[in-house]
């Protein structure tokens, strides 16, 4: 049974695409056939983060318009088996998306035996974001520890539970909270919302906390999903997110400030 997961946030720049890429790569690495779709038509980014920008021939909109088959447009990742990327069109805008077209692409992916279809949503609450979440069974809501991001996530949760297909049919979309760019030191210093504060406001289950890390930017620039960087804290945190998503019980890491080792601690460990 394939599942459609939307990665969304409302606000821009919080790490939706980074998270989509890491999450999809993580699922694929666990052996699940996974497709990740870029819904940000006109502002295509996922291909860059995934390092496949030179391999884009046909895109999502071409498939919707019947100008290419899904097979032609899907890009198979060279690093991870089972991972496929469906890039957005850079020359069109969000109006090129329509419910019927998106549905037919998602259904075709399901028929092709994909276990997970990850929809990378654009920012905002307009058509692109709406299309990305409409067919979702589950949602990963990416939030930064600051008030405007939390409020926008709250807004998108409302839309998710009232306007998605599952909601229209009387069901509920399963919600997961993913906090990114978290800096325990700044939380302790009081200039960042804590993960408890965010959970208190959004009241949805937490699937993971990704620490603020230079390796994310480095990974993006080099076109490698950060989850592949096993050394970095962010990469490890994303690995935990995937494990929790698949039902494993994994404790949170990197959420407390790193202990500054004093002289005696250094001596005696």
């Amino acid at each position: 049974m394939s599942k459609v997961i939307v990665v969304t946030s409302g606000k821009g720049g919080v790490g939706k695409t980074t998270s989509s890429a890491a999450f999809a790569a993580g699922l694929a690495a666990k052996g699940f056939k996974t497709a990740v779709i870029d819904f940000d038509v006109g502002l295509r980014n996922l291909d860059l983060i995934m390092g496949v920008e030179r391999r884009v021939v046909y895109d999502f909109v071409n498939v919707i318009n019947g100008e290419a088959t899904l097979k032609q447009a899907l890009i198979k990742d060279k690093r991870v088996d089972n991972l496929y990327i469906l890039p957005a069109s850079q020359t069109r805008d969000k109006d090129a998306l329509n419910t019927e077209g998106v549905e037919s692409v998602i259904n075709e992916l399901k028929e092709d035996g994909f276990d997970y279809i990850v929809c990378d949503s654009p920012a905002g609450i307009e058509k692109g974001a709406f299309m990305a979440l409409y067919f979702a069974d589950e949602a990963i809501v990416v939030t930064n520890p600051e008030v405007s991001s939390v409020r926008d996530s709250d807004r998108i949760l409302g839309i998710l539970q009232s306007r998605s297909k599952v909601a229209e049919e009387g069901g509920t979309v399963k919600e997961h909270l993913l906090i990114t760019r978290y800096s325990p030191e700044r939380v302790e210093g009081g200039d960042m919302l804590s993960m408890e504060d965010i959970q208190d406001i959004l009241s949805i289950p937490l699937i993971g906390v990704i620490p603020e890390s230079g390796s994310v930017l480095q990974a993006s620039n080099s076109g490698n999903p950060v989850i592949m960087d096993k050394e970095s804290q962010a990469g490890q945190a994303y690995t935990d997110v995937v494990a929790r998503f698949l039902g494993e019980d994994v404790p949170l890491r990197f959420v407390n400030p790193e202990e500054k080792k004093g002289f005696f601690k250094k001596l005696f460990g």
Binding site: R151, D152, D154, R155, L157, G158, I159, T172, I201, S203
Partner: protein
């Protein structure tokens, strides 16, 4: 495409007079009590309480009058068959008559499907306390009310079992009970019921209002912020008390 028969929530205007101007001016007052709620709302006209001859009613003028007031006239019901020709000629849909809604308590969590707006100003000399009669259901909300969401319990009390977020708005014609944190706007007695109250477990509301008297959170004179509280109206003043 799909064509389906579905029930939707519609406001029903029971008219008692064939004088279109009179109907419209009374309705205008009603609308101004909650302009946001009535903005572009679809309206059905019910003729069962009409005292005069239905044939005297100018259906075209009624339609235009309603459009001017910002309503969307949908159809009419409970008019004598003799008027059907007139009704159709003026572009109204004739809706199937239905039985009068029963006043028994409804245990479903859905709001009452119909809201009777009394066009005739007959409440002028009646006791305001009788306005609560006809309240025939309670609305239960068990999911968080998110920023940007607006929920209205027409002619009913509302119970919210989850938090309401900053930037959300909950309204009821009756009282409102919130068992999660109350962070958004909350408006009880939206149609002017001054006896409506607000009860909450954690008072963090951006704005509280009862029967049109409102106060912002910062203006609330209370040490109960973040604590369980009840808000009621005394004269023109909102009183916050511990629960």
């Amino acid at each position: 495409m799909q064509l389906k028969g579905e029930m939707s929530m519609l406001n029903v205007l029971h008219i008692q007079d064939t004088d279109v101007n009179k109907v419209c001016s009374t309705l205008e007052q009603k609308r101004d009590e909650a302009p946001q709620f009535f903005m572009q709302s679809p309206l059905v006209i019910d003729g069962s309480e009409l005292s005069g001859n239905a044939l005297d009613l100018d259906f075209s003028a009624l339609k235009e009058g309603l459009l001017e007031l910002g309503f969307i006239p949908v159809g009419v019901r409970n008019f004598p068959e003799a008027a059907n020709k007139l009704i159709r000629a003026s572009g109204w849909a004739i809706m199937r008559a239905q039985q009068a809604p029963s006043n028994t308590a409804d245990t479903k969590s859905e709001p009452v499907e119909e809201k009777a707006v009394q066009a005739e100003a007959k409440s002028e000399n009646t006791n305001p306390a009788t306005q609560t009669i006809g309240m025939n259901s309670a609305m239960t909300v068990d999911r968080p009310v998110r920023s940007g969401q607006q929920i209205y319990a027409a002619n009913a009390d509302m119970t919210v079992l989850a938090p309401t977020s900053a930037g959300s708005e909950i309204m009821a014609d009756g009282s409102i009970h919130i068992y999660g944190a109350l962070r958004g706007r909350v408006l009880a007695g939206a149609q002017g019921n001054e006896n409506a109250r607000i009860y909450c477990q954690s008072l963090q509301a951006e704005l509280v209002a009862i029967a049109g008297r409102y106060q912002l959170f910062d203006e609330l004179d209370t040490n109960l912020k973040g604590k369980p509280a009840m808000i009621r109206l005394e004269g023109e003043k909102l009183i916050v008390e511990a629960l």
